[in-house]
Subunit: 515 residues, 2 copies
């Protein structure tokens, strides 16, 4: 390649970037300075706390892992080995929970992308735990590695997604034993944001840590700050299974982020009343968080809430409901009660198409999540159909809304310049402000730069093909994938990651791994 | 008709009602006990207040009506007759504003439908000020009286709409001079909720009061409580036109509700910065409210905010924006500053179809409106295309969300029964709660009864025709119009209303009225 050709390519890239839907949307650490939205009173928070303490002291939580049981026994909990049930004094639990940091830094391979978790900070994570991929042309089909990598590319491009996520979709074309290797390889090479990999069992997270060691050129377990994280779900009611406990033990000892999230559908995995569901969620979350602190005091954890309700007509999970919104906000109140960062969710909905229901149920999840001061919003983009499916178009619809939240939370300045009383005096009653110097100086930058909403008049919209939101989103994700360029990475690191994947593929061939 | 036939019809009606989408949704006065969501600090509220006082004292507001100018002159304001500009001491304005009630009762012809306005109370009003009607089959076309009456029927049926609204759509098939008569006739006969009619000029509101007198069998101006209300828009910047002032004078003297709402698009009718736009909004609103108190001290008014921004790419109004959400919440803070009820908006959006954008922009308006403690949410259903169009399907989509807000604001009980610790103890770890007596006793009533969201699994949804939200909403509005029955009215009252309309049609034939 000649120097000129290279310069041409750089110029073309710059031009492409200037036209990107995201061109005017900054990447940054989002802070929420509004007072947290709260659904219950401090007294009610204490009622829930007391109920959770009752559950932990008198009913207990099952830990389906011999090492976990032995650790609890050494710590002084009452362990019943036959049932694997563990009961705890509240003092034991609360002392351990108090060791977890209220706020921590989560390092990324690109230092400019590192995140602060906790306090007033907010980060958005992409879709997770999904089976099917869907787009307008291809319809719904089992996800592939290509889909997985496309979602990583979109996450990298989008300035208001702050992590690679993990389990973006199941890559069905990769053998189960190798999937984590290819997920992580993509996360480290296609993205430079805060990285995630599923802490399932002991092998997957150990491999993920090895790969992080390669990227950071050091044993990341010796760092003060985590470089990797993942979601833990309790198997509600009242149970952590060996898959999750292996992950907790492996990441926990290495000081990597564990997002401890009971998955409670009221009426199925808990009593039907939301009060009971969140009391149970709280007991499960605290038991998990305390367990991580047993492994490594001060290890970074996030208190997770994922409580919604069952649709009692169909028995199917319901998302984006008033009850789910209560649970979301109450979870944040409980996390604050224990000085812990909080994980909620974003794009939850049960629609099968990227339509009005998908959008409004998503807003019924994201609004309460954001206003309640959620620190880590999981599934912030892409979900359809209760999380069975990720839609390319829905990803774009949700990205538009995340960008709007970033602007919204930025708030507005009130000062002499923004009050512009001289301009109000200068324009006569009934006149207009289009042409004033105050407007002209700001018209390109003052308002949030939407990239999906259509504000043409009806006639123009019709002339341009009467495209609905999903159809416009379809064009945008294709445009984004075209403009995508992988972030720079040391070729030696990339090569080492590749060799690690190849070696582990040989070693793990035929080994049954947790998905 | 035989008695048996009549009994059969009643039974059929009951059966139909039991299957109504709204069957499980109660009608009631909604209260919001959550702390108001606030965007700015109390100090910033004072900054805006000071800026508004500066505008009122030094720049002034134009009142384009001789009677209004003379009233202001008598009150001690500085009136410039040539320019029709009025400047006010802040003491004059604030003393007048202080006379307005913080809370009042708005009577309906059915006493069970009366509303409390102000405080923690919340009422939802339908679409207003709309030109076109739209549905999936018919597409967009100029509204007709049949559309108007259909929207009244839907408003009457929907338990979470609390007023008839007015100007639901322009009835293009009725001569301009008669439109208000047929709007009001429909509002009083097809609905029994709190009634509205546009206070435009002096003739329309006088006729509306006459019709209210017929309905209530008395001079409603002598009542302590209003029975009628309507929206006033300032012609921003800094101007009330004669159309609006005639309405203010006519309703104000009769003690009927005036919802004083500056319509400010930042960058067009005000400086581009939202701080300036809301300072101007506040000055205009206070001047209007003070004027009403000049006419009849203690007359019920609502402080209205309708501030959004211009899309600076197209010059078109933008709705459902982060900036509009700021303005919505700040308006509520300002209204509280003056102890006034607050009017915000609901379904604002710029989409041309009842799709994802329509839904998410609507949520970007309704969420901040509700959480900011808006008392009167105008346009709570139906808008598309910046309010040029009302969509039958969008009405249903929005009604679903209003019902969700009603449930959400109801909050949840936390007590021994709802905590159900005995049930948590009774179900083994990993078991399920479907069959417990606690669940069984509540499964039909515990969760919000959604009527539009589809929670079937993908395969069933596909088998059933892959209907998207708008297609399902299309079925629902048709079902609702079929089940509609007019609320009972004294036949003599209905006859008197009809005769009034006929008489006024003769008298107004050819008279040019404000629309």
């Amino acid at each position: 390649m000649t120097l000129t050709a290279s310069a041409d390519r750089r110029a073309a890239r710059r031009a492409r970037r200037a036209q990107s839907p995201f061109a005017q949307i900054p990447f940054g650490r989002i802070q929420n300075h509004f007072a947290p939205f709260e659904v219950i009173t401090p007294e009610q928070v204490e009622q829930l706390h007391e109920a959770s303490m009752h559950i932990l002291e008198n009913i207990g939580i099952v830990f389906m892992d011999a090492e976990a049981l032995s650790l609890w026994e050494q710590a002084g909990a009452q362990v019943d080995h036959a049932s694997q049930n563990v009961r705890f004094d509240r003092g034991l639990i609360l002392d351990l929970v108090a060791k977890a940091p209220a706020q921590f830094t989560w390092r990324a391979r690109n230092p400019a992308r590192e995140m602060t978790v906790g306090g007033d900070f907010l980060m958005f994570a992409p879709n997770g735990g999904v089976i099917f991929a869907q787009d307008l042309e291809g319809g719904r089909r089992p996800g592939t590695l290509e889909d997985y990598y496309n979602f990583l590319r979109l996450a990298q491009l989008c300035p208001v997604l702050h992590t690679t996520g993990d389990q973006l979709v199941v890559p069905h074309d990769v053998p189960v034993s190798f999937r984590h290797l290819h997920r992580s390889f993509g996360a480290w090479t296609l993205c430079d944001k805060v990285a995630m990999e599923a802490p399932h069992g002991r092998i997957i997270p150990a491999d993920a840590i090895e790969m992080a060691n390669i990227v950071f050129g050091a044993d990341v377990a010796t760092f003060d700050e985590p470089v990797l994280g993942g979601i833990i779900n309790s198997s509600s009611p009242l149970r952590y299974d060996d898959r999750m406990l292996g992950g907790m033990i492996t990441y926990g000892r290495a000081g990597q982020v564990l997002i401890i999230t009971p998955f409670v559908l009221a009426g199925a995995m808990s009593p039907i009343t939301i009060a009971s569901a969140v009391a149970q969620q709280n007991a499960e979350a605290l038991a998990g968080i305390a367990f991580v602190q047993l492994l490594r005091p001060g290890a970074p954890v996030i208190y997770g809430g994922f409580t919604s309700n069952i649709d009692m007509k169909s028995g199917a999970p319901a998302f984006g409901t008033p009850e789910g919104a209560w649970a979301m906000a109450i979870g944040a109140q409980l996390a604050r009660r224990y000085n812990l960062p909080y994980r909620g969710s974003g794009s939850l909905n049960t629609s099968k198409a990227p339509d009005a229901q998908a959008a409004y149920e998503t807003m019924w999840t994201t609004w309460p999540a954001v206003l309640a001061h959620t620190n880590f919003v999981m599934h912030a983009v892409g979900w359809l159909d209760g999380g069975l499916t990720v839609s390319y178009e829905k990803i774009i619809i949700d990205m538009e809304n995340l960008a709007m939240f970033q602007t919204f939370l930025g708030g507005l300045a009130i000062n002499e310049e923004t009050l512009a009383l001289d301009m109000i005096a200068a324009v006569p009653p009934g006149g207009h402000h289009f042409g004033t110097p105050h407007t002209q100086a700001r018209y390109a930058t003052e308002f949030h730069p939407t990239f999906l909403a259509d504000r043409q008049n009806f006639e123009l919209w019709q002339e341009n093909g009467s495209l609905d939101t999903a159809q416009r989103a379809n064009r945008i994700w294709k445009q984004l994938l075209e403009e995508y360029e992988a972030p720079p990475i040391d070729p030696a690191v990339e090569q080492a990651l590749r060799e690690f994947v190849e070696r582990r593929e040989r070693e793990l061939a035929g080994v049954e791994l947790y998905t």
